[in-house]
């Protein structure tokens, strides 16, 4: 027998089976009832879930608006008192740190971007504004006489030091310390000082 004839015979047999099953085989009627119940239950669940989601979204929006309002109503930061000027916190060294451009260039772009991303993810401490006095010449030091590079050191001094430089001091707090930046010359001698609040 040729393959076409064989194929034809199989097709006829399969068609007969298909017709027979189509006439006899269907899902039991009870299944429709079960599925209708499931459909209703699902719709009920959805109808309960949708308002809940809307309420959650509304609550989030209200909270966002309230936070924005509170933030906008914050009192402004207190203004510095003369002769004190507000400046960003000083860097520990005045001399610029030598850079290593070759090393940076040798780092693959992907690694660099990963490091940048990591830095970006790091929590950033809120920047505080410091109030500092002008630089005051240290006794025996020459602030303007010897230009050149210097280094700035942050130190803590007894509060009485304010008195020494002619600044007002609360006598009751003289036992406490006060923060100051000392400008050291290249020769290692203190040139000037400023007090930090």
């Amino acid at each position: 027998m040729r393959p076409e004839e064989r194929n034809e015979e199989v097709t006829v047999a399969l068609r007969a089976l298909a017709r027979d099953m189509e006439a006899r085989c269907e899902a039991p009627p009870a299944l429709e009832t079960t599925l209708r119940e499931a459909y209703r239950g699902h719709r009920r669940k959805l109808s309960w879930r949708r308002p809940l989601m809307l309420a959650a979204i509304a609550a989030s929006v209200v909270m966002l608006v309230a936070s924005a309002a509170i933030w906008l109503r914050r009192p402004p930061a207190s203004a510095p008192v003369a002769p004190v000027a507000a400046v960003p916190p000083p860097r520990p060294a005045v001399a610029p740190k030598p850079e290593a451009p070759a090393a940076v260039a040798s780092v693959p772009r992907a690694r660099r971007s990963t490091a940048q991303a990591r830095r970006a993810r790091r929590p950033v401490a809120p920047r505080r504004t410091e109030i500092v006095t002008e630089f005051l010449p240290v006794a025996g030091g020459d602030l303007f006489g010897r230009p050149g590079r210097g280094r700035l050191f942050r130190v803590r001094l007894p509060r009485a030091a304010l008195w020494t430089y002619g600044l007002p001091m609360n006598v009751d707090r003289r036992a406490e310390t006060v923060t100051a930046d000392v400008l050291m010359g290249e020769d290692g001698l203190a040139r000037a000082i400023r007090f930090v609040q």
Partner: protein, 175 residues
């Protein structure tokens, strides 16, 4: 249906349940499994109707796809499909029988032999034969439900029919 029209769901169910049930029955050979699969297919339709994408094919193709996955899971789990009983008698019997009752009985046995031969096919041939020959789906629809190329369906169908012819000749249902 997505808007909550229960009658639309019922209409769709009535129109498609027979084909899905028969597909599951022809693939598994078990009425209980066929019922379970049909229920799961339509429950999936109830719960995630948005998953049907009309751009990717017909509703029937999508339902057959779900049914196929459920049947395959059942076959993997239970690992049973009914083997062809080699000693089928009555199918193509040479006995001189007469009368409509005997003819009817002979036809029933012949159909049962064909059903058993289909069940004995390897799964990937069986699903091609069931979808294209028994469910009379187009090659494209069958390919969509199975998730393969139309050419694959053609070759599986050809090979499946060859195997069926061989089995039916053995059971003397074919000449």
């Amino acid at each position: 249906m997505e808007a909550g029209d229960e009658e639309a769901f019922a209409t769709l169910y009535r129109r498609r349940q027979g084909a899905v049930y028969r597909f599951a029955l022809q693939m598994s050979g078990s009425p209980a499994t066929a019922e379970e699969v049909t229920q799961e297919v339509f429950l999936a339709l109830v719960e995630t109707p948005g998953r049907y994408d009309s751009a990717r094919g017909s509703v029937a193709g999508w339902l057959f796809g779900i049914a196929r996955n459920r049947v395959l899971r059942w076959l993997e789990k239970d690992g049973r499909h009914q083997p062809v009983e080699e000693e089928q008698d009555g199918c193509g019997s040479d006995d001189a029988r007469s009368g409509s009752v005997l003819d009817d009985l002979a036809e029933r046995e012949r159909l049962e032999a064909v059903r058993q031969a289909v069940l004995a096919l390897p799964t990937h041939y069986r699903e091609a034969v069931v979808l294209c020959d028994l469910q009379e789906r187009s090659y494209e629809e069958a390919a969509g439900a199975i998730g393969c190329a139309v050419g694959t369906i053609r070759s599986r169908l050809f090979r499946g029919r060859e195997l069926l012819a061989h089995k039916l000749r053995q059971s003397r249902c074919l000449t």
